[in-house]
């Protein structure tokens, strides 16, 4: 255990590509965490998806031992936080475990959008921010300009910003030194009742559930009987340790320290992010503040392209769920898509990640239906049934409209930060999405606007649109604020006069026509031309509200085909026939599965 004065807990804030991972790798290398041979680039992002997209999904830490210029050795805990609004709550817990942050800014590109949101979050947690201007050895580097930008745009003192190049190893020692001298030591009381925050957890096939913790007060030890204050379960700690980034077993974790414990826990659902861990004997009476129950807010159906893969999908989803308590699933059947699962996610990115992992790690071909939120519907009494209340997760289960007394939909409070030049377009976007503005303040060249928005307008590509109209500069954070009544209807999409259940959605009546027109236009581009013309319609009940037509294909013929071409052309024909098998047929129209996904991502137009 290290005394409080020699501990520093920090995270790294950086825009994608500004060198966060490289810097983390350098810090690990410099402090001897891994030999050169063991360094694979971007040590911290374990999953392929994390590496590719440059986003972190699970919080991770690494402990570094650093001998400072004052001759003393410090324990530095680097916390790698998830990086997306879908995981805003997880991020807030990771940040709550730190006292400071390195703000890494690219010396050539300057301050970027995502950075701002993260900096503000970090500031909200009272973090000390240490600016680092990275990539100073690039020919296009303008460190002085970037220094001024950090002061103007973010509003923090950058006069002592560290100049560095993580790639070339320049300034690494200065960064480590700044961590020690600038970031405050954690506070805590070794003798107080145990309080440790559950930062994150994951399933390891050998160790069971591994829990990432930050000790606030007291001490965590092997053999200790602990209790989750919110979850209510009790467990015996069988391992205490830290990551360097290799696992190292420790005697104990004291106040201010970050590390992990295992306690023979099999189900990740028992370990809730933000829960407080205390000892069974002489435990704390009050949990730490800030816990929130994580609920899936976006739902969609996942179906195997090949019906024979259903069991494989079930197994794969169950395995993923082992490591991700925040998504839910239940079986679903669809007339067109067969058997699949209705799954709940924290947001659209979370949905995409799960879908991509299933595709990639479990080699499944999937069809994803339109994302939807949960609606509360009051049903009137019918001849056979009493009046009742249902929660609707799936547009396909939309009840007979004549029985609907009232539909309530979830609303959120959204806080958007943006450079003020984009404010106009952002206000329009929020207005178009039925938003109600509740606050607007200006800070320097930036605006902070608060809106109440229906969640179903947000799951529908809001985030993509926001980023696109602000060139990535606006940031967005939200929390749910409860249910409100809405004039909602089910809109169906018909292709060649047949309803495509996977594309039906629940929309507000006021935007139905526009949304319908948009979907029809989109499908017109996404469904390839056929040998005949194809009508595409959006309808509410029996009433068509939008229509497009895909013209018939006119030309698809090989110009030259002689004796020597037969074999090759025949192979081509067989390949095309195979491609056909991967499409879904609606009224003899073949819809490529990409169309389902793409149709729901509305892109830049509208």
């Amino acid at each position: 255990m290290t005394d409080l004065a020699h501990i520093r807990n920090f995270s790294i804030i950086a825009h994608i590509d500004h060198g966060k991972s490289t810097l983390a790798d350098r810090l690990i290398q410099r402090t001897g965490g891994l030999s050169d041979r063991e360094m694979t680039s971007q040590v911290l992002d374990n999953m392929d998806i994390e590496k590719e997209r440059g986003i972190t999904i699970k919080a991770q830490t690494v402990r570094l031992d650093y001998k400072a210029r004052n001759g003393e050795t410090y324990e530095l805990n680097l916390m790698d936080t998830p990086g997306h609004v879908d995981f805003a709550y997880e991020v807030s817990r990771s940040l709550a475990a730190c006292e400071g942050a390195l703000l890494v800014v690219d010396a050539a590109q300057g301050v970027e959008a995502q950075t701002l949101a993260n900096v503000y979050q970090s500031i909200e947690h009272d973090h000390e921010i240490v600016p680092v201007i990275n990539k100073i050895d690039l020919p296009a580097a303008e460190p002085e300009k970037v220094r001024a930008e950090i002061e103007d745009v973010i509003g923090i003192d950058a006069s002592e910003a560290v100049l560095a190049s993580a790639k070339s190893g320049i300034g690494i020692d200065d960064i480590l030194e700044a961590i020690v001298t600038k970031i405050p030591a954690p506070k805590g009381d070794r003798n107080a009742p145990l309080k440790a925050m559950l930062v994150d957890s994951w399933y390891d096939p050998y160790l069971g559930v591994v829990i990432l913790v930050r000790v606030i007060d007291g001490v965590l030890k092997k053999g200790q009987q602990i209790r989750f204050m919110i979850g209510g379960t009790e467990h015996l700690i069988d391992r205490v340790g830290c990551m360097r980034p290799k696992i190292e077993t420790l005697q104990e974790l004291g106040p201010g320290e970050i590390g992990f414990i295992t306690a023979q826990i099999k189900e990740i659902t028992q370990t809730r992010v933000g829960d407080t861990i205390t000892s069974v004997r002489g435990g704390a009476s009050e949990p730490l503040p800030g816990f929130k129950e994580v609920q899936p807010v976006v739902f969609c159906g996942l179906f195997p392209v090949d019906a024979a893969d259903f069991e494989k999908l079930r197994e794969s989803i169950s395995k993923l769920r082992l490591n991700d308590a925040s998504f839910s699933f239940e079986m679903e059947s669809s007339a067109a898509l067969g058997f699949g699962f209705r799954c709940g996610f924290l947001g659209l990115l979370h949905l995409e990640i799960i879908q991509e992992r299933l595709t990639r790690e479990y080699d499944l071909d999937l069809i994803t239906t339109a994302p939807s939120v949960v609606y509360r519907i009051q049903l009137r009494k019918s001849k056979t049934e009493d009046a009742k209340e249902i929660m609707l997760h799936n547009p396909a289960d939309y009840p007979d409209p004549s029985r609907i007394e009232q539909i309530d939909e979830p609303w959120i409070k959204a806080v958007i930060y943006t450079p003020d030049e984009y404010l106009g377009s952002i206000l329009k976007l929020c207005q178009d999405r039925r938003g109600i503005q509740t606050d607007l303040t200006y800070v320097g060249g930036r605006a902070q606007v608060t809106y109440e928005l229906p969640l179903n307008e947000v799951v529908f590509d809001f985030y993509d649109r926001l980023k696109s109209i602000s060139r990535g500069y606006a940031s967005f954070d939200y929390e749910q604020t409860g249910l409100r009544e809405g004039d909602l209807v089910k809109m169906s999409l018909l292709v060649n006069n047949e309803p495509v259940d996977a594309l039906s959605m629940i929309v507000h009546r006021s935007v139905a026509e526009e949304r319908g027109r948009h979907m029809c236009e989109r499908l017109k581009d996404l469904i390839p031309r056929h040998l005949f013309k194809i009508p595409i319609q959006a309808a509410i009940g029996g009433k068509v509200i939008a229509r497009e037509t895909i013209a018939a294909m006119r030309k698809d013929v090989t110009a030259k085909c002689y004796g020597g071409d037969i074999t090759r052309k025949k192979k081509l024909l067989e390949k095309q026939k195979k491609g056909k098998a991967r499409m879904r047929e609606y009224g003899s129209v073949q819809i490529p599965q990409e169309a389902f996904i793409a149709a729901l991502r509305m892109g830049d137009e509208s």
Binding site: T558, T567, L573
Partner: protein
């Protein structure tokens, strides 16, 4: 396949002076060619195929390439003579040679005719110098027309090739070019729309955005214009891209499209002998060394399943205006007629006006011919 149908013989000469940017054929550029060795090798490859197909009557010979008009006339003559020794010739045997319309090759037309070639297929490709340059052709229009005149002076039957639906080509441009081409009086024209084939330089150019291929709808209009003009000129389409005065169709190519037997000799040549597919080594050097080793240039010889044969026969036969006699085809490959095509799909496409049934015959309509590749994926049962 009955022995009564005449056999077709294809001989591949794989060399070109330069590779054209749209060409995906088996062609190679070599600094020097050992002519006696090549003549000898082709003769031996031919002898091997003749052994496999004894007692047949030969209806056609086709010298293709590459650039077969660069073959020494002695080699052409030796091959024709050898073929005559292996098989009996049909009285009206058609012996075609592909040729580039440049002066060097035109000078050899008379010798080729002397050797027995009685039909020349001339790769004129365009009647516009800028278009010829775009297509990477070595000749210009003036030289091409001189070669055409020379060809018409040497043999009775001349076919010319043109490539259309070039980037930026308007209907008026093509109408003018085709009007001029029809006036040359050849009884046969091959009119190909430019398609971007995998592995060609054009494919790279398109990917890089150097040019944009013709819009398919515009190409469809040009195709329809072509059909109307050639029909009016008495040389209607008998195949997707081939037009002839009735009776002047390429007998050799008809053998492919009617899925008859053909022997393929030379590097990369394909053949079909009674349900057996033959493929020869593509690379000239590999083909040569295979011959030295095995006395033939084969790289693959494979009996085709009836379903495969059906797929091939439909793929080729539906290219013809006459279509396919399904009953005859079923009998020939020994499979029930119902198993040849997806009958529901055929019925649906008939309703859409893309296919027509006339007794046992299945054929595309004019609109359907333009959509044949797509139609095949719908109807071929394979």
């Amino acid at each position: 396949m009955t022995d009564a149908a005449p056999l077709a013989l294809y001989i591949h000469w794989p060399f070109c002076v330069a590779k054209c940017p749209y060409c995906d054929f088996n062609s190679h550029v070599r600094e020097s060619i050992d002519q006696p060795a090549w003549r000898d090798a082709l003769l031996r490859d031919l002898a091997y195929e003749a052994d496999m197909l004894p007692g047949r009557m030969l209806g056609s010979i086709f010298f293709g390439g590459g650039t077969p008009s660069l073959m020494p006339p002695e080699t052409i003559e030796a091959l024709i003579d050898a073929a005559a020794g292996h098989w009996s010739f049909a009285p009206d045997i058609e012996i075609t040679m592909e040729a580039n319309p440049n002066s060097a090759e035109a000078a050899r037309f008379a010798q080729a005719a002397q050797a027995g070639v009685n039909r020349l297929s001339l790769g004129l490709q365009a009647l516009d110098d800028a278009a010829l340059r775009f297509l990477g052709r070595a000749h210009d229009v003036r030289e091409g027309l001189a070669a055409l005149e020379a060809a018409q002076g040497c043999v009775d039957r001349v076919s010319l090739d043109l490539i259309y639906a070039l980037p930026g080509q308007s209907a008026a441009d093509w109408e003018a070019e085709l009007t001029r081409a029809l006036a040359f009086g050849t009884d046969h024209l091959s009119l190909y729309q430019l398609t971007i084939e995998p592995g060609t330089r054009f494919e790279t150019d398109v990917r890089k955005g150097d040019f944009v291929p013709a819009d398919p709808d515009h190409a469809a209009e040009l195709f329809e214009l072509t059909q109307a003009m050639t029909s009016a000129a008495g040389r209607p389409a008998y195949e997707v891209s081939n037009h002839a005065e009735p009776g002047q169709e390429s007998r050799h190519n008809l053998a492919y499209w009617r899925y008859g037997d053909y022997a393929g000799v030379g590097p990369g040549a394909h053949g079909r002998r009674g349900g057996v597919a033959t493929i020869r080594h593509r690379k000239p050097e590999n083909w040569m060394s295979a011959l030295a080793r095995n006395a033939h240039g084969l790289s693959e010889e494979r009996a085709l399943e009836p379903a495969e044969q059906a797929g091939e026969a439909l793929m080729m036969g539906l290219r013809l205006a006459e279509g396919v006699d399904l009953r005859a085809l079923a009998a020939r490959i020994g499979t029930p007629q119902a198993a040849l095509v997806d009958t529901d799909a055929v019925a649906q496409l008939e309703r859409h006006g893309l296919l027509r049934r006339d007794g046992d015959r299945l054929a595309t309509t004019p609109a359907g011919m333009l959509l044949l590749d797509r139609i095949l994926t719908e109807i071929v049962a394979c």
